[in-house]
Point group: C2
Chain length 187, copies 2
Amino acid sequence: MQHLLTQINNYHPLSAAAQAALQNCFEKITLSRNDYLLGEGKVCKHLYFLEKGALRGFYNLDGKEITHWFGFENDFVTSFHSFITGEPAVENIQLLEGSILWAISKEQLTELFNLHHEIERLMRIAYEKYYIRLEERFVNAQFKTAKERYENLIQQTLHILERVPLGCIASYLGISQETLSRIRSQF
Amino acid sequence: MQHLLTQINNYHPLSAAAQAALQNCFEKITLSRNDYLLGEGKVCKHLYFLEKGALRGFYNLDGKEITHWFGFENDFVTSFHSFITGEPAVENIQLLEGSILWAISKEQLTELFNLHHEIERLMRIAYEKYYIRLEERFVNAQFKTAKERYENLIQQTLHILERVPLGCIASYLGISQETLSRIRSQF
DNA sequence: CTCGGTTTTTGATATTTGTCAAAAACTTTG
DNA sequence: CAAAGTTTTTGACAAATATCAAAAACCGAG
């Protein structure tokens, strides 16, 4: 729990009162490799903080699993669309490694927003960071070649390559596994 | 100005005090077709509300202009990366039509966040909406074919097609203008 | 209306990436 | 450590999309 609070303070420093309030609301979850944190069709009512481990978001398309994001240590994860809109998720969230997570419900979080302006600020700032991160992925997806996207991955998020099966990485990069394999053989 | 406030209340209802504070900070800007709201290399220090008109965000790549987003009536627009991080923008924002905008500086907005919790909440909610919107574009860019992306455009944002030159739309969809032309000829 | 410039379309061809099938390499487990 | 399963690579070929060049359509100013 201390780790969670330290990381949150890194995002945006919080008063003791706000920290105590958060501490009361987050619940610890321990999951094993291949467990599901969320199944498609369910409404995702929680925001999670990933203390240790790795997971992926994926959806099914024509019988294939399309992994479109990963979560690692210190990431906030959720099915954002479902969490924000309250609609059923189109994606699954599955553990890639045994992991420790902390969960807070949307209801509790909304209540904390009312009680502590600074927690809402924290969230506003978190959204800013995540927005920028997504924007960069979007530009890569739309305007870079498969090879450039792979080089980008090596330079900026090498840890993904070291912890995730190539099949997941291929769809994360928006290419087939065979193409990824051929690109890799050029290095 | 009344229009701006009405739209903002649509996003999230505000108290009279918060509305008055906003009213004090927003400045009206009128620009003509082809004018620039932002040039690459400059830090974007303002958030804009587009009351009337249309504009595009684009950057230069190998001598080509890559349009990656459009703004229309009632959109909040800025170069998010630059606005959030304070770094120079890599993109240009150019008017596609004569437009009426309202500007607020980041400095003023930050001050308003301190004075009115509810304005920060408005912004948090706005980020949520923009995050989801971007997420959808990302999934389209990465996992749909050119034809599917065009069909999507017709179904969901037909107004773009009616107000923007095809050259801009092609790069918005992440395809060459020739390919877009060929896809269009199939309809 | 018409000239000059811009935008859009069409044609021919090249490049990139995907698909299917099989082989090879790696992992797990009894 | 060997069998069975899984993941990754390789090969042959097909499909999607890009590029370059030229023609056609459109558009605004005089």
